[in-house]
Symmetry: C2
Subunit: 207 residues, 2 copies
């Protein structure tokens, strides 16, 4: 299972790193979680410069592709050279997006008819005809959207649950949960993730 | 308000980056959040290489110093050259530690008599005579400890609350909360942070 965390200049640290850290707790042969970027290094919205582990083309061969949010998302989706590098396939890949990351789904023609996002991205997505629900996580088929920075924990949990089962996902989420809150955290996570595991895909909203 | 996020090789990405991202949402003159490391670059427990923004000496002049956890913490606290670089002062600074980061508090002579930590660090801290409570966050005076990766959200909230008031902290936490969970998230955060804001300091457990 190759997981590409698409990480571009201006990226939100919570989105990329909470997903990376939780997903990296899976200890299964062949499981690989990689920061994937178009340049050798990228700088976050708060000035953290990181080295990329993989080129953007890794996303096209990965089994899972996650798009986080960031302060430059609208520039990135208008960058035709960048967008042209993606050749994703939602029939074969799990594709997730968080907050403004959903704008990539729209640009790539994969935006589901119902999605979760943050308050800032909501009017932009709503203008496409997409129905935005006030939920942390919404899946349709192999595409999942999440809203609010800290929904990254549910997004990561959903990926693990789809790949290895809900019990595996919840065991890992329990591990990262705050002390003294583990049982309530896991119950909430199960309530959010479980209904999103077997949702049929619907025709995407092409732009 | 200068905030040093002490980030060493093997660091846990959730600890350093959730704190950094939440604390960086404060828009107040002079508020500065910096990844602070002994080398020009450090690599996380899952292989993310980042550039340091500040040298370790920044921690000594900062108003807030946070120690996250990591896979090499026990090596770091046994590194006399590294430990000798810290000259912290809990009468002047807010000092926070998460999970195995509490071992730095012990080594520096600041470990409070009651602390929060994770399951792995618990026996190590308990051996010092420290009382470990199964809570996300415990403060004593200017020192605060947090347990479980995702308690970083409460640790960051506590710092903002101590510096700028609880309302300011809760407004920022509401912003990063998952969609559809914002009111319950903020209520939980308030219940966890508020009782830890005016806790008298007690004599530290010196090693």
């Amino acid at each position: 299972m190759k997981i590409a965390i698409v990480t571009l200049d201006g990226f939100n640290e919570i989105d990329s790193f909470v997903a990376l850290s939780i997903l990296s707790r899976v200890k299964v042969d062949g499981w690989s979680v990689q920061i994937t970027a178009p340049e050798k290094s990228v700088t976050s919205m708060n000035g953290v410069e990181i080295k990329a582990r993989q080129k953007l083309s890794f996303a096209n061969e990965a089994d899972v592709v996650l798009f986080g949010s960031g302060t430059h998302t609208r520039n990135h989706i208008d960058n035709a050279d960048l967008i042209a590098q993606f050749a994703l396939d939602p029939t074969r890949q799990l594709i997730g997006a968080q907050c403004s990351g959903a704008l990539f789904l729209h640009r790539l023609g994969f935006l589901p008819v119902t999605a979760a996002t943050d308050a800032k991205t909501r009017p932009l997505l709503a203008a496409t005809g997409c129905l935005i629900e006030d939920k942390p996580l919404i899946a349709q088929g192999n595409i999942v959207t999440a809203g609010g920075c800290l929904s990254s924990q549910y997004l990561a949990g959903w990926v693990i649950a789809r790949a290895l089962g809900l019990e595996h996902a919840l065991a890992i989420l329990e591990h990262v949960a705050p002390s003294g809150q583990k049982s309530s955290f896991v119950k909430t996570a199960a309530d959010i993730i479980k209904p999103q595991l077997n949702v049929p895909s619907q025709p995407a909203l092409y732009c």
